[in-house]
């Protein structure tokens, strides 16, 4: 990368630099009588793009073009022609792609929301880690218009693991950035190396420890555990299902109104063809006010909702109950003290259990729950609950 001598904040205009005097700048040709949304460019942007058009016209691909395209990208990271020309110039000049990737580290955090930043990174990483054999036909291929036989001249690429570390740090700036997550999913699935996948679960858990409502992290977990296939060490799918259910329910206990965790619970059950009814004991306490001394439970009279963990009965023959009185029932963790209950998401889930069972009485029980959502607990969706009621009582399909 060429070094900048002047202050990076206020470099001189290209028009003022003797070393650029051989380039004929080309102004934008937008001379219509009524252009739509013309931009009153800053002098810096107009200058840089005039010289860029001049360079494109002559087809020059040299080190100084890297400086010019960097200037433009800093002023407008969505300038996809500058990105593309820069990429081609990197290849033509046999520049170090590793150095470019390092430069991109700062761009990615500055311009997180720009597609081009991530696309460029993808092209670089693809070239840096090209497997000796041909890549899989379904994977995205770079828009290589110049010679693809680029050989990096300097430092060898960092291991791909470093890319995941970089993404993790970018997520610290914006934990739900859509492009950043999509890029992580691409790195994992495109290169698909066991060592890359191995740390993903603990990575997701650290993200969810930060913010249990980060749906991007929940989605990523589903991608890693279920959607991307079965990897070594995870072949026991029954064990995987048990692990995921336990984890999710623990998180629901922590925040009973977290839609992300409930959606994940639904996702596990649907993906593994497990009836929702298997979760009835877990869900029930979340459908009731908390604390409520007079509460009775229609499904399991042995369980007292307001009991603390210490009070909990030990006679249940669940495999996870502990011999000691003090250990939490992992299968059915209770709402944390002070939780905002009942949770509309739990009521919805319970109604789905009833509807799934399908008996006439069950449907009526579901209808009662939907009515409570419609009239009291989730009135913003009153039309939706009304639809569910009508749909269950008068099925048209």
């Amino acid at each position: 990368m060429s070094s900048r001598t002047s202050s990076p904040d206020f470099p001189p205009l290209y028009a003022e630099r003797p070393e650029w005097s051989d380039v004929v700048p080309i102004p934008q040709n937008d001379e219509d009588a009524n252009p739509i949304a013309p931009i009153f460019y800053t002098p810096e942007y107009k200058d840089a793009t005039d010289y860029f058009r001049g360079i494109v016209k002559t087809g020059e691909k040299s080190k100084r073009v890297l400086e010019l395209t960097e200037s433009i990208i800093r002023l407008n990271p969505a300038h996809y022609s500058a990105w593309q020309y820069r990429y081609q110039t990197l290849l033509s000049t046999s520049s170090s792609l590793s150095d470019e990737l390092t430069l991109m580290d700062t761009y990615a955090t500055e311009f997180l929301k720009t597609y081009q930043v991530w696309h460029h990174r993808r092209l670089l990483l693809t070239l840096l880690h090209q497997p000796p054999s041909s890549p899989s036909p379904s994977s995205p291929t770079p828009t290589t218009t110049t010679s693809p036989t680029h050989t990096p001249t300097t430092t060898p690429p960092l291991p791909l693991q470093a890319e995941l570390t970089f993404i993790t740090s970018a997520l610290r700036t914006d934990a739900k950035n859509y492009h950043t997550w999509a890029y992580r999913q691409w790195v994992l699935s495109h290169f698909s190396r066991p060592e890359l996948w191995s740390g993903e679960i603990s990575f997701v858990e650290s993200m969810l420890d930060e913010d249990v409502r980060n749906n991007s992290a929940w989605h990523h977990r589903f991608f890693v555990v279920f959607a991307s296939g079965v990897r070594e060490g995870d072949e026991d799918r029954e064990e995987v299902r048990r692990r995921e259910l336990a984890y999710t329910k623990e998180k629901i206990a922590l925040a009973p109104n977290n839609g992300s965790a409930w959606n994940y619970l639904r996702g596990i059950l649907t993906h593994t063809h497990t009836p929702f009814a298997t979760q009835a004991d877990f869900v029930l306490p979340y459908t009731l006010p908390y604390p409520s001394p007079s509460q009775t439970e229609p499904l399991d009279k042995d369980v007292d909702v307001k009991m603390t963990d210490e009070d909990k009965d030990t006679d249940k023959d669940e495999k996870n109950s502990s011999p000691e009185n003090t250990v939490v029932d992992l299968e059915n963790p209770r709402p944390e003290a002070g939780a905002d209950l009942p949770s509309p998401l739990a009521i919805e889930f319970m109604a789905d259990i009833y509807e799934e069972r399908g008996g006439k009485e069950d449907v009526l029980s579901a209808v009662e729950l939907w009515k409570s959502l419609r009239d009291e607990h989730d009135t913003i969706r009153k039309n939706y609950w009304e639809f569910r009621i009508n749909d269950a009582l008068h099925p048209s399909r």
Binding site: Q28, N29, D30, D32, A33, N34, P35, I36, A37, P38, I39, F40, T42, T49, R53, G54, V56, L75, N76, P77, A78, H79, Y80, S81, Q84, Y115, P137, S138, P140, T141, P142, T145, K176, Y178, W181, A182, Q185, W186, S189, R213, N214, N215, S216, W218, H219, H220, F222, F226, A227, S228, G259, N263, G267, H271, I380, R381, N383, Y384, F387, R397
Partner: protein
């Protein structure tokens, strides 16, 4: 709510916001270089929904806009379409154009879709559109996995671009250039466990791509309806996810557990309408949220007290056109919207009638 004096759609000031943007953007909007045609569509589309286009923009300026849009029509060996603006053109005159230009000054499917709708909004007769070139452009933009990239050849591809390709084919009434089965299978791979769709395979369910997926499937010719229709279970979970995205403040969010943003009133609202579940939207609280997103000097912002922009202004108005609040206040009355093409029904009809290939041959 109807009695609240603050519950008023400030049509004239939203029109002013769009007119200001059409006339020019400040230098801090340099990023608009690569999307000026789309920004034009949001401004013109908002004026169209407001019913103020011919009143606020005189005929010669409207003609000027039409000419400018046609000046963005760009031919390339891989098809003809519209570019976002002349920002990458190195031709100093119309006759001076090199083959090399095409690499950087290229037609783009997203811009092509918004340019065609803008021309329809301006009631241009569309005779200057290179239809055969459009068909070619769509053909060369489809990728091996069935998706489409914004430009011909290999490149970034996602559901947004599938949608724009499909909308173009639908308006042309010509699907000959598309491998439809592959495209449907790509759309399906973007579906997630939540019931929505991500922008690319494996990515998180989000309101925008969900709209693009559902609208694409419904734009297809009737003979594909069996392979394009969601199963009963799929439809259920998608409707549930969309309904769950209406937040307590009345607006819609784009992803689970995020805050509402005005644009998702359109993306999620139109998705529900496409699925025949429009009744499930609470239109009163949705309108109340959008009412609060109105900026005092015009335009609509993504959330209350934010700065407005043409994108959120247009999509909020489009959402309100689909989900008008029940009120005596007539400012909220807007023309009906076509949820599949994202234009007023009249504009959508104009586009279909004038663009279909059979209209000229």
């Amino acid at each position: 709510m109807a009695e609240d004096p603050n519950f008023t759609l400030n049509k004239a000031s939203h029109a002013s916001h769009c007119l200001r943007c059409l006339r020019g953007l400040p230098g801090s909007f340099a990023e608009a270089d690569t999307s000026r045609v789309a920004i034009g569509f949001y401004c013109l589309g908002a004026l169209d929904i407001l019913g103020l286009l011919s009143q606020k923009v005189n005929e010669s300026v409207r003609q000027g806009y039409i000419d400018w849009i046609y000046n963005q029509q760009t031919a390339s060996p891989l098809g003809t379409g519209f570019r976002p603006s002349p920002y990458s053109s190195v031709s100093t005159s119309a006759s001076d154009s090199q083959q090399d230009d095409h690499l950087f000054d290229r037609p783009n499917l997203i811009m092509t879709y918004t340019a065609l709708l803008s021309l329809a909004i301006l009631r241009d007769d569309l005779t200057r559109v290179d239809r055969k070139g459009l068909v070619n452009l769509v053909r060369h933009s489809q990728q091996d996995d069935g998706s489409f990239s914004a430009f011909p050849g290999k490149g970034e591809a996602d559901l947004r671009i599938v949608y724009t390709a499909f909308a173009i084919c639908h308006m042309l009434d010509d699907w000959s250039s598309v491998n439809i089965d592959k495209a449907i299978s790509f759309i399906r791979t973007c579906r997630t466990y939540e019931g929505g769709y991500g922008e690319v395979p494996f990515s998180e369910a989000q309101g925008g791509p969900t709209y693009c997926a559902l609208a694409s499937l419904h734009l297809l010719p009737a003979e594909y309806s069996s392979s394009a229709t969601l199963s009963v279970k799929e439809r259920r979970s998608t409707v549930r996810w969309l309904a769950q995205n209406q937040a307590k403040d009345g607006g819609f969010r784009g992803r689970t557990e995020k805050v509402a943003d005005a644009c998702y009133s359109f993306w999620c609202g139109a998705s529900l309408r496409i699925l025949g579940a429009a009744n499930e939207v609470d239109e009163a609280s949705n309108a109340d949220f959008l009412n609060r997103c109105q900026f005092r000097t015009g335009g609509i912002a993504k959330t209350p007290n934010e700065v407005p922009d043409p994108y959120h202004t247009y999509l909020s108005l489009a959402a309100l056109a689909m989900y008008p609040p029940k009120t005596e206040n007539l400012t909220w009355s807007l023309p009906r919207l076509d949820p599949l093409l994202n234009a007023t029904e009249e504009t959508a009809r104009w586009a279909r009638d004038h663009l279909r290939i059979s209209a000229i041959s």
